[in-house]
Structures are given as structure tokens and as C-alpha cells.
């Protein structure tokens, strides 16, 4: 693996997290718990699709094989997606969606803060823009986790269950391998090991305010970063890629 290949892989991870989560959040459009929240969630989906576009454009450039961001988004095989397992999990109920979003947003904010200092100027610039969006997403998702946790008995129970169910996908957000090692040396990548304790303490802080418990002793799943996904991704891609697969090579 050379530096370009590592950078391509690294950019895909960031892009695919946004792409797949953006897709999931967009599934809510028209079905939110109240009109105002429908609009809020669509804003988040739009931000994520925008981030995915920016990172995929860069990935395509680094790749240097004449592909476009759309080619990367819509024409890869399942095993070539690099998103974390967390973001491909199904929406479930509103609490499941907010818990997923909250875990991801805490990670994403820390990650983008680090990436703005990357020696890769393009990554740093996209991170700068995305960070502003992510701060708002985090505010939104933490407030909901707190509201649901400290709301009614029913909501408390539901969101605690969501937190417990999704906890097993959280450590993977901090997965790193030789891609990271190579890029850390040149100051491109973010040191994920250093972020993990920060993530844990920030999550604990919000969960405490929400009167929720931190799950313990849960086995951690991983595989997304190396292309081993859950069963859900195949269906998501079948839908997302439908047009490009059914009408190959056409412009829209």
C-alpha cells in the first residue's frame, strides 16, 4: 500500500460514514414524530449527503482513475464500502435513530476537530465546514437523548434500550490499522486512540444528564472499516444503487 492508496481508503471511510448515515436519516423524511422534527432531520440528512459528496469528490481525485463521486457512491460493491457498522443500522424508532446519531455525532465532532489540523489541506478544509454542521447535529441529538432519557417512564425505557443495543457498534468508530499508521506519520490522519477516552467521557456526561446508564460488558462488533458489513447494508445499497444498476451508464 502506498500513500495514495492509504489516503483513498482513509477518505472513503469518512465519506461512507456520511453517505450511509445520510441515507438512513433521509428515510425519515415525511415520517417524523412532528413536522418541526421532520424538517430538522432532513437538514441533518442534507448536511451528511453534502459531506459525502465533498469527501467522495476528493477520494475520486486521489484515486486518479477518472471516476466521479457518483461512481464511488453508487457503483461500488458491498465489500468496498468503508463505513462503520453503526451508521448502517436500521432507523428503528425515533429513540434508536437519536441514539445512533448521538454516538456518531460525539465521535464525529472530535474527529473533525482533529482533521481540521490535518496536513492534507483538502481534508482540513472539508473538515472545517463539516465541523460546524456536526456541532449542530450533536446539540440536536444530545438534547433528544436527554429529553427521552429524562422524559417519561416509557421514553426512558425505550432510549435506554436503544443505547444498550447500539453500544456494541461504538468501539469500531475508533478502529485503526496500517492505513492510519501510515497517514499519522505525515500528519494527515487523526489519532483515534487519543479520541476514544474523550468520546467515552463526553458520552458519559450526556447519559448522566439523561439519567441513563452506560452499558457494560457488551461484546463489540467490528468489520465495516474493512468491508465486512451487517446484513442491512445490502438492502440499503440495493435501494440506493437501483437507478444506476437498472439504467447503466446514463446521465440524470
Amino acid at each position: 500500500m502506498n500513500r495514495e492508496q492509504a489516503l483513498f481508503e482513509y477518505t472513503l471511510r469518512i465519506a461512507d460514514d456520511s453517505l450511509i448515515l445520510g441515507h438512513r436519516v433521509s428515510e425519515w423524511c415525511g415520517h417524523g414524530p412532528i413536522l418541526e422534527e421532520d424538517i430538522a432531520m432532513t437538514n441533518i440528512a442534507l448536511d451528511l449527503v453534502g459531506q459525502a459528496t465533498n469527501f467522495l469528490e476528493y477520494a475520486a481525485k486521489v484515486d486518479g482513475k477518472g471516476k466521479t463521486a457518483d461512481d464511488l457512491a453508487f457503483l461500488r460493491y458491498d465489500r468496498d464500502y468503508r463505513n462503520a457498522l453503526l451508521v448502517e443500522q436500521k432507523n428503528g424508532h425515533f429513540g434508536d435513530t437519536m441514539a445512533r446519531q448521538f454516538f456518531f455525532d460525539v465521535f464525529r465532532k472530535l474527529f473533525f476537530e482533529g482533521l481540521t489540523k490535518s496536513t492534507d489541506e483538502t481534508l482540513a478544509a472539508i473538515a472545517e465546514k463539516s465541523l460546524k454542521e456536526t456541532k449542530y447535529h450533536l446539540k440536536h441529538s444530545s438534547e433528544w437523548v436527554i429529553r427521552l432519557g429524562d422524559g417519561t417512564e416509557e421514553s426512558h425505557q425505550k432510549i435506554q434500550e436503544s443505547i444498550n443495543n447500539l453500544w456494541r457498534f461504538t468501539e469500531e468508530l475508533f478502529f485503526s490499522n496500517d492505513v492510519d499508521t501510515m497517514l499519522l506519520e505525515s500528519g494527515i490522519a487523526v489519532d483515534l486512540n487519543a479520541l476514544y477516552p474523550l468520546w467515552k467521557s463526553q458520552v458519559a456526561h450526556v447519559l448522566a444528564e439523561a439519567t441513563l446508564e452506560i452499558p457494560s460488558g457488551t461484546f463489540q462488533q467490528k468489520g465495516g472499516r474493512t468491508g465486512f458489513h451487517s446484513e442491512h447494508l445490502g438492502y440499503l445499497l440495493a435501494e440506493m444503487q437501483y437507478m444506476q444498476r437498472a439504467y447503466p451508464g446514463m446521465e440524470w
Binding site: 412532528i34 418541526e36 424538517i39 430538522a40 437538514n43 446539540k139 438534547e143 429529553r147 417519561t152 416509557e154
Partner: protein, 95 residues
């Protein structure tokens, strides 16, 4: 379980520094913090604002339109409050 609706809030937006907040509409929110966030998402999707006020609709006191004559008509006859009431000769400027 109560099936109570979220209260209604009136939204005021300052479109840019130097201008007053202006009423833009209303929305539903469980509390003030949420009302601000919802106002941001609903009413500033096209960069329409840089500052938001929200106030619960039931807290607004409005003047009674049936008293509009008594409240506002008397001011109509006080034309001396307007600068155009006064004659200034042609040669005078900066006034």
C-alpha cells in the same frame, strides 16, 4: 398518558446586523430551547437570519382592533410631528 400538544411559539428573526427582529411566523415546540432550534431549522433554511427570538404565543398581549380608532387615529391629526409639516426656503440645505 396525556395527549397534550406542544405549545405554540411566535418567531422573530433578525435578518442582518443593524435591522430589528421581525415576526416571521409560528411553530410548535415543547420548550424555549427547542423552539429556538426549530425556528433555526424551519425559518432560516435559506440563510434568512443571524439571530432568533421566540416567545410563547399565549404570552403576547395585543391591542384590540376595535379600539384602533381611539388608539391610533388621534396621531393622524398631529402632523406637526413630521418634518414635512415645516416650510424651509429653497436655499437652505442640510436640514
Amino acid at each position: 398518558m396525556s395527549n397534550k400538544e406542544w405549545p405554540l411559539w411566535e418567531v422573530f428573526i433578525r435578518s442582518k446586523q443593524g435591522l430589528s427582529h421581525k415576526h416571521v411566523g409560528s411553530l410548535r415546540a415543547a420548550d424555549a430551547e427547542m423552539a429556538i432550534d426549530n425556528a433555526r431549522d424551519v425559518y432560516t433554511r435559506r440563510s434568512e437570519g443571524i439571530s432568533i427570538w421566540v416567545v410563547e404565543s399565549k404570552l403576547v398581549t395585543a391591542s384590540d382592533p376595535r379600539e384602533a380608532d381611539a388608539l391610533f387615529d388621534p396621531a393622524d391629526s398631529k402632523v406637526y410631528r413630521h418634518p414635512t409639516f415645516y416650510d424651509v426656503p429653497d436655499g437652505i440645505s442640510h436640514m
